[in-house]
């Protein structure tokens, strides 16, 4: 291969459109370059490619078909449409993650409509749209349904703003639809008529997920739909669907690879029980199982026949006891991912440790987050037990009410390959319950031992020492979530100075002030975003940041009853589109 392109890359890297104009010794014609580049899928690689020289920039933009925009406000629809001309698939994310915890006003923004309008004009061949934490109105859905004749896949994760009417437009008009995946919806009961609007000859559906919509759909329409969509492999229904209805669906679709059941609580006759048991037994391809609302020890055994191939079991919508979990896990030897609620207790987690040697991911959610009696849930013992038996663990989300430094040190020694470590000790600022010391050593051990760590959430009583450790050791860290922690500005400074790959930093209720905020001036342009709420920031500090860094958007939301000086909620993100025009009055753009 001609070495010249590499040379020009060294000279012109990080300088898009600089003297990297048409290379005089262009080693191959555009078509070849484009052909080669069209084989590159990773958007990170593509972004790197586009920086080599102008030829490569153009070849890349003409061949990109998948668009990933991690923050919808970092760029405008117009800029995107000008640069990329052949987009078939778009992933767009909107609100900051803390909106999941109701920390943003309802009309904060991230409305997809302006994007939809632009896409309708620029990308008539659009096939896929994946949205996360965006507001999607019925109007947008109608525009979608009418504008893209080749449209195949719609995925909405934590989105709101739409009703039955919007979904009806999709199901009525998108004749080639293969995927309709609605996850973690926060809408109220929007109505279930949309399911009945799939035309009678429509049969292309492969993925259908409406588990988080609380509306009643017509079971007859659903049954007909499932029976004629022979390629259906993912079906996740909501809890309106009963067990015996589920049985009828399974009879039509035994080849499902992913199933989200409906309600698991129903009085069944012995015959019905046998039928559902045998229906599950026929599901030989099942890899993912979820739903299971109200499942009890009497009904869980009907699942056993479908569990041998399961790799992901999501029991986080069920309040399961330890014994029930243990018996179920005995049938799931191939489990890689497990989500449960803490009702299973440490005892249940012991069963996880002994039954799931291949486990890579564990999430333990609190069944009752406000149980102040501390009588229920899991402790450091359960986590330890899992770490002893599941050495391949790399992703953990663990809500607990007590923890010790020693336990965490042991846990990461057992499982050094963590890439995602999210520990939530639910009482803010709680120390090591045995020694009464801060939990600094625990997270220090995580940072030091888990060299591949990409995501970390810390909790408990933490001093600046924790952040010194993180800054010193967590060289691959990309996402950090901090709450009720730290002693001074120094904590945040250590992280900003020390973590080269940091992209998302979200902080709440920490004693970090303007000095800490401003120490990251240069860094924020290399990050996707920074969130700070209930810290010690002032309007003055935020204005200074905004003035010094014009390519950052600095948005402040003031709480009710707050004085003129405090900046209660601050959201900082890089953008080439300038300040956004759609911010509601409560969001101040500095």
């Amino acid at each position: 291969m001609d070495p010249d392109p590499k040379k020009s890359k060294v000279l012109t890297s990080n300088l898009p459109n600089s003297n990297g104009s048409s290379h005089p010794h262009s080693p191959f014609p555009d078509e070849v370059l484009e052909k080669v580049l069209s084989l590159i899928d990773s958007h990170k690689d593509r972004n790197s490619v586009s920086l080599v020289c102008k030829d490569w920039y153009n070849a890349e933009r003409w061949t990109r078909s998948n668009l990933f925009i991690g923050n919808c406000y970092s760029v405008s629809p117009e800029i995107v449409a000008r640069r990329f001309t052949k987009i078939k698939s778009v992933t767009l994310k909107g609100k900051p993650r803390f909106s999941d915890f109701n920390m943003l006003p309802r009309d904060w923004g991230a409305n997809v409509h302006s994007w939809m309008v632009t896409f309708a004009k620029a990308y008539p061949f659009l096939e896929e749209l994946r949205l996360k934490r965006m507001r999607v109105s019925d109007q947008s859905m109608e525009l979608l349904a009418k504008s893209f004749p080749h449209f195949r896949a719609l995925s909405l994760s934590s989105c709101d703003g739409f009703t039955d009417d919007g979904l009806k437009a999709i199901t009525t008009h998108c004749g080639n639809l293969t995927e309709l995946d609605i996850q973690d919806s926060v809408t109220a009961d929007i109505g279930g008529g949309w399911l009945s609007c799939f035309p009678e000859n429509f049969s292309s559906l492969e993925i259908l997920n409406f588990s988080s919509l609380s509306s009643e759909v017509s079971f007859e329409a659903l049954e007909r739909l499932v029976s004629r969509c022979r390629s259906l492999r993912v079906l996740k229904v909501n809890d309106i669907i009963t067990l015996d209805q589920l049985q009828r669906l399974l009879v039509h679709a035994p080849l499902l690879t992913e199933l989200g059941t409906g309600s698991f609580l129903q009085e069944l006759t012995p015959r019905q029980y046998e039928d559902i048991e045998s229906a599950f037994g026929n599901c030989k391809n099942l890899r993912v199982l979820s739903g299971l609302w109200d499942a009890t020890s009497f009904y869980i055994p009907v699942l056993y026949g479908a569990c041998s191939g399961l790799t992901f079991l999501n029991m986080s919508d069920t309040v399961l006891q330890s014994g029930e979990l243990a018996k179920l896990l005995a049938h799931c030897p191939n489990l890689r991912r497990l989500w449960v609620t803490d009702s299973v207790g440490d005892k249940g987690l012991e069963a996880v440790g002994s039954s799931c040697p291949l486990l890579e991911e564990l999430r333990v959610f609190p069944a009752d987050p406000y149980d102040l009696d501390h009588r229920h849930g899991v402790t450091e013992l359960g986590f330890l037990a899992v770490s002893r038996g599941c050495r391949k663990l790399r992703y953990v989300l663990y809500f607990c009410r007590r923890m010790t430094n020693a336990a965490v040190v042991t846990i990461v020694q057992n499982c050094p390959d963590f890439t995602h470590f999210r520990l939530c000790i639910m009482n803010p600022r709680q120390p090591d319950y045995l020694t009464n010391e801060p939990m600094d050593e625990a997270f220090g051990a995580v940072a030091k031992t888990c060299t591949k760590l990409q995501r970390l959430s810390v909790s408990g009583l933490l001093t600046d020492t924790t952040f010194e450790y993180i800054g010193k050791y967590a060289k691959n860290l990309e996402t950090l979530s901090v709450a009720f922690a730290g002693s001074s500005d120094r904590g945040m400074q250590c992280v900003l100075e020390g973590c080269p790959k940091l992209r998302k930093l979200e902080i709440r209720d920490c004693p970090f002030g303007n000095a800490a905020l401003l120490s990251g001036l240069k860094k924020y342009e290399m990050m996707r975003s920074l969130w700070m709420s209930a810290c010690n920031l002032t309007m003055k500090g935020c204005r200074l940041l905004a003035r010094e860094m014009p390519r950052l958007n600095v948005e402040v939301i003031k709480d009710e009853g707050s004085d003129e000086i405090q900046a209660d909620k601050v959201y900082v993100y890089r953008s080439v589109a300038g300040p956004r025009q759609d911010a509601p009055p409560i969001v101040l753009t500095l």
Binding site: F101, M103, S214, E216, S316
Partner: protein, 174 residues
């Protein structure tokens, strides 16, 4: 004040709901839901959004998050669902039910002494018993209600329920 899973007034650090900032979807009211139910609306110690359990993460048992229960109405073809955590008391709930089914009599029954309304709202509690709406304090109701039914008064009378009882229960709510 009775101790319950949502926290008592005696504790210093109040743990609010993820929804403590308000289910602002409806009527732009802030700090609705349980924070107000427990008179904690004015307490600045309430911690919004903590523990960080996402609002969409519905749970079966009452946990301070969304509390959807099914509602059936005699004569209506479809079930609906209401989120009990979005309402502060019985009168709000009844109003929501009226809007959901387009039946504007349910509330009347709870106001008048006479049996004017054609319908009576009842609910099934944790023990599987059918109870008249309004008998117990609101928070106890939300903890124990598994589903609602708007029953025809004609059927209700046969079970010996009276408007007087409805009124009595309702006066307990503030």
């Amino acid at each position: 004040m009775e101790k319950n899973g949502l926290g008592s007034l005696e504790t210093e650090l109040r743990l609010g709901l993820p929804g403590g900032g308000g289910e602002v979807e409806i009527k732009n009211e802030k700090k609705r839901g349980f924070s107000d139910c427990y008179g904690g609306g004015e307490n600045k110690n309430q911690v919004v959004g903590w523990p960080p359990v996402a609002a969409y993460r519905r749970k079966n048992v009452f946990n301070g998050g969304k509390m959807y229960v099914k509602v059936s109405m005699d004569g209506a073809p479809f079930l609906r669902k209401v989120d009990l955590s979005m309402h502060k008391g019985y009168s709000e709930l009844v109003k929501a039910l009226e809007e959901l089914f387009g039946c504007y009599g349910i509330g009347e029954a709870l106001k008048d002494e006479e049996d004017k309304c054609e319908y009576v709202p009842i609910y099934e509690d944790k023990d599987g018993d059918w109870m008249l709406l309004g008998d117990v304090p609101w928070q106890m109701f939300t903890e124990s209600c598994k589903r609602l039914r708007i029953m025809k008064r004609a059927d209700a009378n046969g079970m010996g329920l009276h408007a007087k009882d409805l009124l009595k229960g309702l006066s307990k709510e503030d």
